[in-house]
């Protein structure tokens, strides 16, 4: 299943090589220029006293990966589904629905992770790289868990919503939340206490918070990370049920 989906992604890349590469290079450059160069003049330093332009780089990697993940999930679970293409054919193959969801998540997550790695390489050329090797590994570990969550969230949206207008509005709302509600650009400490508590414990922000805690203190919260993975698996199973229902109707 994963091999088939992976090959399909490679073919889709190959079929749109120039535009794909253009986006791969332009996306991190644009995000860095539009966010970091302006916000560093507003924020100056993070709450922990680190220059904002260094502090924000991991957050930008998470944002770019989120932007890279969305179209992949949208395409398969919304666009092609509502136009009755591909998904039915894939669903009839001899795999369990959870393997199908898992396969899509794995391949889309991998591509978004690659986008994150490329964007980190590009941004490290634009600004001084703030992370050590181990911190970078921890960041990508947290990014993988985050993409697992986010992929599930996008799949839920893609499957549960059947009209484009509703999906666009939900997507816009989701990206506002991703940009400003996960601590990528603005630390939770800047929000009022009640909002801070909510944002701190909403599932999508947890992986990045685990990384930030490690970045600041060197302490890795493995229990919380494991909890996130378990929650992600449960979310995948919930998506399996939604997919079954959607394929029937």
């Amino acid at each position: 299943m994963i091999y088939a989906l992976l090959m399909r992604r490679i073919w889709l890349w190959k079929n749109r090589l120039i535009s794909s590469f253009f986006l791969l290079l332009v996306l991190p450059f644009s995000v860095y220029s539009l966010v970091s160069l302006s916000f560093k003049n507003i924020m100056g330093k993070s709450l922990s006293g680190m220059p904002y332009e260094f502090w924000v780089i991991p957050g930008l990697v998470f944002i770019i990966s989120s932007l890279g993940l969305y179209p992949l999930i949208y395409r398969d679970f919304f666009d092609l589904r509502i136009h009755r293409k591909v998904l039915i054919n894939v669903a009839l193959a001899p795999y369990r629905k959870r393997a199908l969801i898992g396969g899509y998540l794995c391949v889309a997550g991998l591509e978004a992770l690659m986008l994150g790695i490329v964007s980190l390489l590009i941004m490290s050329g634009l600004a001084t790289y703030p992370l050590t090797m181990i911190e970078t590994v921890v960041m990508f570990l947290c990014l993988m868990v985050y993409l697992f969550f986010l992929g599930n969230y996008f799949i839920t949206l893609g499957l549960a919503i059947d009209t484009q207008t509703t999906l666009f509005l939900m997507t816009a709302l989701s990206f506002i939340f991703i940009l400003f509600g996960n601590g990528y650009l603005i630390e939770f400490g800047f929000f009022p206490i009640g909002v801070e508590t909510f944002l701190t414990w909403q599932p999508l922000s947890i992986p990045f918070r685990i990384f930030q805690v490690y970045f600041r203190t060197g302490i890795m919260d493995w229990a919380l990370l494991t909890g996130c993975i378990v929650l992600g698996i449960l979310w995948t199973l919930a998506n399996t049920i939604i997919l079954k229902r959607k394929l029937i109707h």
């Binding site: 299943m1 091999y3 088939a4 090959m7 399909r8 073919w11 889709l12 079929n15 749109r16 092609l80 009755r84 293409k85 591909v86 039915i88 054919n89 894939v90 669903a91 009839l92 193959a93 001899p94 795999y95 369990r96 394929l247 029937i248």
Partner: protein, 308 residues
């Protein structure tokens, strides 16, 4: 012969409406079965149930003796389902679409290439292989969908309107391939192309309101109408009196009229001469006689009350 597909009291409901009502029948291996009926009688739903795309609300479906619900993975490998609508990935080429399915079913690349050559060439698909699915005609898409389903060598092929959107040449090529495949595979298809069905079937299932209304080879189905012929006589002017007189000819069955055309059925051709004799003083413009076919069998009037 061994059963390829067996249905035991299979039913499907959508809300309160019964789409399929306790269907029980078997399909023999290596046979070609056509499902026909008027729209919304449950034909496509039946195909979806048989393909595993939908589950029955009650009853069981067996493929090669395996319960589809309990042995889902095994039975799905045995089935190839070609839906009515194009479901190819629009941004992949035709070849990539086929190879994607080959990869899904873990078909070896070399074997996949051999099967592509075996099935795509006779359908004239190869010149279009590098075109995106969205840039080719509906007929070419449909042929690609057929090859895509054959790539994993299923024992049972299910097709919803197998020649939908195709031109005459493509229809011929597709049926040539399907008839060739019939030797090794069971083929079940839903179609409204009655002329094609008459040419390509071992058995026809006529659907009516979620039930099998008739079942058998066309010759068998037409047995009930054996020796019936359909006649049409067009008069210069068909008066009410003349129409009444003609309907009273003892051997005339199910008479009706359309403007100046008198339409009726008869068990023997002699009926025709009875009518001609009765109307010998009138000016006749055109005559038409034909043996009954599938279309007549499916005629709603016919289905509702038969000829007698």
């Amino acid at each position: 012969m061994e059963a390829s597909i067996t249905l035991k009291k299979v039913g499907k409901l959508i809300g309160d409406k019964t789409i399929l009502a306790g269907l029980s029948f078997g399909v023999e291996r290596g046979s070609i079965v056509a499902i026909v009926g008027v729209n919304d009688t449950g034909k496509s739903t039946l195909l979806k149930l048989l393909s595993g795309f939908e589950n029955p609300d009650y009853g069981q479906v067996f493929i090669h003796g395996l319960d589809m619900e309990k042995r889902r993975r095994e039975t799905r490998s045995l089935i190839g389902y070609v839906p009515n609508e194009n479901d190819l990935d629009p941004w992949l080429t035709l070849e990539q679409n086929i190879r994607f399915t080959a990869n899904l079913y873990q078909v070896d690349e070399k074997i996949a290439s051999e099967r592509i050559a075996k099935y795509a060439k006779p359908l004239g698909l190869v010149p279009y292989f590098n075109n995106f699915a969205m840039n080719v005609s509906h007929g070419t898409q449909k042929k690609t969908m057929l090859v895509r389903e054959l790539i994993h060598d299923p024992d049972v092929i299910m097709l919803d309107e197998p020649t939908g959107y195709m031109d005459a040449e493509s229809i011929r090529l597709t049926w040539d391939l399907l008839k060739e495949l019939k030797r090794e595979k069971t083929i079940i298809y839903v179609s409204n192309a009655l002329a094609e069905i008459e040419q390509a079937h071992d058995r026809i299932l006529v659907f009516h309101e979620g039930r099998i209304f008739m079942d058998g080879h066309l010759d068998k189905l037409l047995e009930s109408t054996l020796n019936y012929h359909q006649f049409q006589v067009e008069f210069d002017y068909l008066s009410d009196d003349l129409y009444k007189k003609l309907t009273q000819v003892a051997t005339v069955v199910s008479p009706n009229r359309l403007d100046n055309i008198f339409h009726f059925y008869g068990r023997t051709r002699n009926v025709f001469f009875d009518v001609i004799r009765t109307a010998s003083d009138e000016l006749m413009v055109d005559l038409n006689v034909k043996k009954l076919g599938l279309r007549d069998l499916l005629d709603s009037e016919f289905a509702a009350r038969g000829l007698d």
